[in-house]
């Protein structure tokens, strides 16, 4: 008995470092090298494509926190992209292009929207949660459409990218690329820490058996609401970057189709693994780009592909990799 108490197994059969960390390591290495390789090809096109991919990876990552780890199917997540982007756009329209002002506004407004809508949405479950998050997402969309002073329906073009403490370093595509990469890496590492923490363990437990969690003394609502706010804020960061990358802010960022695409990215990559969301975002956007080069009806090909992935690769692309022996456990 003494011996049993001193020997404390940490997790269920920990796999080797490379098996576990292989996929994220390769992903980030590729993203780090991409701009250097891109110089030999259509540089600005590739940088824009990869920047966009990483921005949506941050958004998908943030959605994975609540969808993958919390089993909360939020169908209004694109609203936070909009809040982040309008944080840039609205200040820019008033001549403030300083990132140190725009970014806090983008994050704070996303967090506040998450707090208010989350506090109401999380009182519902299942299909009702999906519907109410969808409704809040649409509310945000129509709010943006109604902002006539800021372009209304059409959106508005930004006069310039955000300035970092007065410097216009982000006008350089490569600098912006690396800033986005840094934001993605930061979001990824923070998310990983969160899901493995005490807090994250409560969220993961609630995914498996909420009644059990309540019966051992966890009032789940406040934990789930906190996670909802974290996810919304992180997606607001993606919105901030998206406005800078496209130089444009528009209600189109917050459509419910966009929210659906974010869900598809997370499911495509593999729910509840974080790097799966990055992989899913990359697969989605790169396939979209590639297929739309052949035909404007690219969704005719993309749709069946999604069906196949969901049917035959449970656990998404990451699940498929795992079965082939590449890349690690959750």
């Amino acid at each position: 008995m003494e011996k049993a108490v001193t020997h404390i197994p940490e997790t269920v059969a920990p796999p080797a470092f490379i098996r576990r960390e292989g996929v994220p390591l390769i992903l980030f290495a590729l993203l780090l090298l991409a701009p250097f390789v891109a110089r030999f090809f259509a540089e600005s096109y590739l940088l824009a494509l990869f920047s966009r991919t990483m921005i949506f990876a941050i958004a998908a990552l943030s959605l994975d926190l609540i969808l993958g780890y919390g089993a909360l199917v939020s169908f209004g997540h694109a609203a936070f992209l909009g809040f982040g982007a309008y944080g840039v756009g609205i200040l820019a329209a008033h001549g403030v292009s300083e990132a140190s002002l725009q970014l806090p506004l983008a994050l704070a407004s996303s967090a506040l929207f998450a707090l208010v809508t989350g506090a109401l949405s999380l009182r519902t479950k299942g299909v009702y949660f999906i519907m109410i998050t969808l409704a809040f997402g649409q509310m945000a969309f129509f709010l943006a459409v109604s902002l006539a002073a800021y372009g209304g329906d059409d959106g508005m073009t930004l006069p310039s990218r955000s300035r970092l403490f007065g410097f216009d370093v982000l006008e350089d595509d490569r600098a912006l690329y690396f800033l986005i990469l840094l934001a993605l890496l930061g979001s990824y590492l923070v998310s990983r820490a969160i899901v493995m923490s005490r807090f994250g363990r409560v969220i993961r437990g609630a995914r498996e058996n909420p009644q059990r969690m309540a019966a051992i003394g966890f009032p789940l609502f406040r934990y789930q609401l906190t996670m909802y706010v974290i996810a919304g804020t992180m997606c607001g960061l993606a919105g901030f970057l998206l406005a800078n990358q496209t130089g444009f802010v528009s209600p189109a960022y917050m459509t419910w189709q966009r929210s659906g695409e974010l869900i598809v990215m997370v499911v495509l990559g593999g729910l509840g693994s974080l790097h799966g969301a990055i992989l899913g975002a990359a697969a989605f956007l790169l396939l979209e780009e590639w297929l739309s080069g052949f035909t404007e009806h690219w969704k005719m090909i993309f749709g069946p592909f999604l069906v196949l992935v969901v049917l035959f690769a449970r656990g998404g692309l990451l699940g498929a990799f795992r079965r082939l022996g590449i890349g690690g456990a959750r």
């Binding site: 008995m1 049993a4 108490v5 404390i8 197994p9 940490e10 997790t11 269920v12 059969a13 820490a193 969160i194 493995m196 923490s197 005490r198 807090f199 994250g200 363990r201 409560v202 993961r204 437990g205 498996e208 058996n209 009644q211 059990r212 969690m213 309540a214 019966a215 051992i216 003394g217 966890f218 009032p219 934990y223 906190t226």
Partner: protein, 250 residues
């Protein structure tokens, strides 16, 4: 009766026109093992739901240690020391056995609003969890996925989870449900080892277990308590025999 640790006063619950719990009053003495028996549909599980806070009561009061807990939610009651188990096994199947228990420890040890540091590597939580596992005899299963345990082991795990929450009063809803003879023997021995240390309210259909374990027994029929007494008294009680044991008493 001054030492009643859990007191139910005129507890009622209706589902529509059906009175599931009708004016139930009961006082649990400290460290006694009090069993509730009754035919199927008598409202035993509903009563546990009401006491644990899973289902609200229509009227009546619940007092733990002399303090009213009726308006509190289930998690709040757990923090006051009122912990329950479920009739149908309720664990986190994807977590390791150790983590299932460590989470229960975590719920009581400091804040869970910690966003950094690996929870699974927290020694303090794991040691207490291991102690609870050792108590129910599952120490050698700590690293297993909880979903892979046998049914009997899952029931042991549920007890370990409940114990890790440091209960003053433990509400056990058919802990022997679905277990085979050998498994139930292990569990009965386990319950006997807890006897006298924790106040236990036990619902169970296994009459041999109930009559051998309980200090006192209450009989619930159609939502009403028709008798409370020692096992011997209950066995001899005429109303009980008619209502529950199904005897024709002329």
């Amino acid at each position: 009766m001054s030492s009643a640790i859990l007191r139910l006063e005129h507890l009622c619950k209706n589902y529509g026109a059906l009175a599931v719990t009708e004016d139930v009053s009961l006082a649990l003495r400290e460290n006694e093992l009090h069993a509730i028996i009754g035919p199927n549909g008598a409202g035993k599980t509903t009563l546990i739901h009401q006491i644990s806070g899973l289902a609200p009561s229509d009227s009546g009061r619940i007092l733990l240690d002399g303090k009213e807990i009726t308006p509190l939610s289930m998690p709040e009651r757990v923090h006051r020391g009122l912990v329950r188990s479920f009739q149908i096994t309720s664990i986190l199947p994807g977590f390791s056995v150790l983590e299932n228990v460590a989470l229960a420890v975590q719920a009581h040890e400091g804040s869970s609003f910690r966003f950094f540091g690996r929870a699974a590597a927290e020694k303090k939580l794991n040691e207490q969890a291991m102690a609870a596992l050792a108590e129910v005899g599952l120490a050698d299963r700590a690293a297993r996925r909880a979903g892979l345990l046998s049914h009997g082991e899952k029931r042991q795990l549920e007890l370990a989870i409940a114990l890790a929450a440091k209960p003053k009063v433990l509400l056990l809803d058919e802990p022997l449900a679905g277990t085979g003879p050998e498994e139930s023997e292990v569990l009965v021995a386990l319950l006997r080892s807890l006897k006298g240390r924790i106040t236990i309210l036990l619902i169970e259909h296994d009459m041999d277990a109930v009559f051998s374990l309980a200090d006192r027994i209450s009989v619930l029929v159609y939502g009403q308590i028709i008798a409370t007494g020692s096992p011997a008294e209950i066995r001899e009680n005429r109303d009980v025999r008619v209502a529950y044991l199904g005897e024709e008493v002329v």
